[in-house]
């Protein structure tokens, strides 16, 4: 294990943060950190580990991971919330969103 490798564990309420939102956020963070998601009943256990924690959180390479990993975890949670809000909106707005996208793509392709 490298000296600046870090890891952080988070426990999320599955009733507040959906598995889908967590997975989407994990994908967004996939170039910054390794993220593992383990569902355990009503919670989701998320482990975040970064080979270079300093660079992963936008700091400098080799920065002390013990001060950076919590920041990375916090940024990850903001991204989970971002994805969750997107999912929440889709439940209400998907019809209108779909109408506009369909029209735009059909017109561009030369269809009516």
């Amino acid at each position: 294990m490298k000296t600046n490798e870090g890891s952080k564990k988070l426990v999320l309420d599955a009733g507040i943060y959906s598995g889908e939102a967590v997975k989407l956020a994990a994908f967004v963070f996939s170039d910054k950190a390794d993220i593992r998601i383990v569902p355990r009943g009503k919670v989701l256990e998320v482990s975040i580990s970064a080979e270079d924690a300093g660079r992963a959180s936008g700091g400098s390479e080799g920065q002390n991971s013990s001060s950076i990993m919590p920041l990375l975890g916090a940024e990850f949670m903001n991204e989970v919330l971002n994805q969750q809000c997107r999912i929440d909106l889709a439940k209400k707005n998907s019809k209108i969103a779909g109408i506009i996208v369909t029209k735009a793509l059909l017109s561009a392709a030369g269809e009516k």
Partner: protein, 501 residues
């Protein structure tokens, strides 16, 4: 009784009348708010709706309106009803017409086709987003065959009017291909009947009379960069020969003089200039505007920097945040309006484009601020090697080693494949403001747009994360400035004159 029933019908039925349905007879009847968006600016609320109407409300009026307690007796009622903010007074035809006009790009394919004739350049601008290489890198010149194939593809767009824009690097470094592509495109336009505009974006360092004559004869509109007075311009736009400024000014004046002396054989367009705001520009708004005025330029396009390409690498030196840009923009716009009051003819292009939507409910053709964004479906960027990207910014990301925004190649892929490929679809979906949590609630949604490339480069995903997105902050700053200035009758009169047709 019949009128009350008509009013009730709008609440529940999908089979809604196409004409205005009058409110109930009683003056005390309440008016429920149809879908509306709002933003608190200072002590007041700006209300907007899908069609693009807007209204200002004091806090107490906002509370009344959103609670559905405003009555016909209220002095604001008439204005709100006329603007589509009273549910049982909706003029569906009017609102539909305005929505359609403002979103008319939804009915057409890509209008802008950028041909990157070469990556070679004799400048090293600090903020270069075009991946410009040195003047010796001839392998990055587009061949005549690729240029022709690119033009062919551009003409496949179902849009009845297209613009082919020659860019680079410095496109004049690949002059022979530029000439053949321009001539070929004009020929094709005659055969197909498609409306064609040709445009050139150049630093002018390689311009001469012969080239100028060709460009003018083929009705190529000319655009360059002007970042302000000499010292500022040259600081941003580093040139191998020493000063970029001298050539820029020389040829602006040349093309202006040619515009003044129109000839019957072809139209000569006024030359235009673009401003790219770097950190060095932020304290010089007056000097920059004055430089444009001094040169007789009637438009100034105040463009913010994006952390893509070279700019990304130098962001710590030349970058700034949304607040800084918003302050610069407001000061610049205010100064421009003061000049207008004194009779100076100068308008800000970003403002004019946004005002076209706000005041005229019209689509100004600004690909960066529409829903969905213009990636692929509004514009295409044809790289020197025949690769096709969703936009020039997407091509930049490709230059950095990530081909996510590459959607095809002129030799292998037909037009329809470009429009139906997964990248095109995902750019459209991710830039749909109806699916963005913050944008769907934002008062500026009827006039705004997001950039999946910017989101990807700065936040790691095409969707981005709007509360922390600096581009969102920039646009909010621009809209805040415009709507605030529109509240002043004198300033509003000038702003509206900019977009009067």
């Amino acid at each position: 009784m019949a009128q009350k029933q008509a009013a009730k019908k709008t609440d529940k039925s999908m089979a809604l009348p196409s004409k205005r349905s009058p409110a109930g007879k009683t003056a005390k009847s309440r008016s429920v708010l149809p879908q509306a968006l709002w933003r608190k600016i200072g002590a007041n609320y700006l209300l907007t709706n899908d069609s693009g109407h807007y209204a200002w409300l004091k806090e107490k009026d906002f509370a009344l309106v959103t609670a559905g307690k405003m009555t016909e007796r209220d002095p604001l009622f008439g204005e709100l009803a006329a603007k589509g903010f009273v549910r049982n007074r909706l003029d569906f035809n009017d609102l539909a017409s305005k929505w359609k006009k403002k979103n008319s790009y939804l009915y057409y394919g890509p209008s802008l086709h950028i041909l990157v004739l070469t990556l070679r350049c004799n400048h090293k601008c600090l903020y270069c987003q075009s991946a410009a290489g040195g003047a010796g890198a001839k392998h990055t010149d587009m061949t005549a065959e690729i240029a022709r194939k690119s033009v062919d593809l551009a003409f496949n767009s179902p849009n009845p009017a297209i613009t082919i824009e020659f860019q680079g690097g410095e496109p004049l470094l690949n002059w022979e291909v530029l000439k053949s592509a321009a001539a070929y495109a004009r020929k094709k336009a005659k055969i197909t009947g498609k409306e064609l505009q040709l445009a050139l974006v150049s630093n002018f360092s390689l311009m001469n009379a012969e080239k100028a004559e060709f460009l003018l004869r083929h009705e190529v509109s000319i655009c360059t960069s002007l970042d302000g007075p000499r010292a500022l311009h040259d600081k941003n736009r580093v040139c191998a020969s020493g000063s970029s400024y001298a050539d820029t000014v020389k040829w602006i004046k040349y093309f202006q003089a040619r515009h003044e002396k129109q000839v019957p054989e072809y139209r000569v367009f006024k030359p235009s200039a673009l401003l790219t705001v770097s950190r060095y520009s932020l304290r010089s708004h007056k000097e920059i505007v004055d430089e444009y005025v001094r040169l007789g330029l009637e438009d100034i396009f105040i463009r913010p920097l994006a952390p893509i390409g070279y700019a990304k690498r130098l962001w710590d030196t030349i970058g700034y945040d949304a607040k800084d840009f918003a302050a610069f923009y407001f000061k610049s716009l205010d100064y421009i309006l003061k000049l207008n009051k004194r009779g100076v003819v100068i308008k800000e292009k970003m403002a004019a484009m946004m005002l076209d939507k706000i005041v005229n409910f019209r689509d100004p053709g600004y690909l960066d601020a529409r829903c969905p964004c213009g990636a692929a479906i509004g514009q295409l960027a044809y790289n020197y090697n025949g690769d096709i990207y969703t936009c020039d910014e997407g091509r930049m990301v490709g230059w950095e080693g990530d081909d996510l925004f590459r959607i095809g190649n002129v030799f292998k892929d037909g037009y329809k494949k470009l429009m139906t490929c997964p990248t095109t679809k995902v750019c459209v979906v991710s830039s749909n403001l109806e699916a963005q949590p913050a944008c769907a609630r934002c008062a500026y949604k009827p006039y705004c747009g997001v950039c999946p490339v910017y989101n990807y480069e700065t936040q790691g995903s095409l969707w981005g994360n709007m509360p922390a997105n600096d581009r969102c902050g920039l646009f909010k700053g621009i809209f805040d400035a415009l709507f605030t200035l529109l509240r002043d009758p004198g300033k509003a009169a000038i702003l509206k004159k900019w977009v009067a047709k």
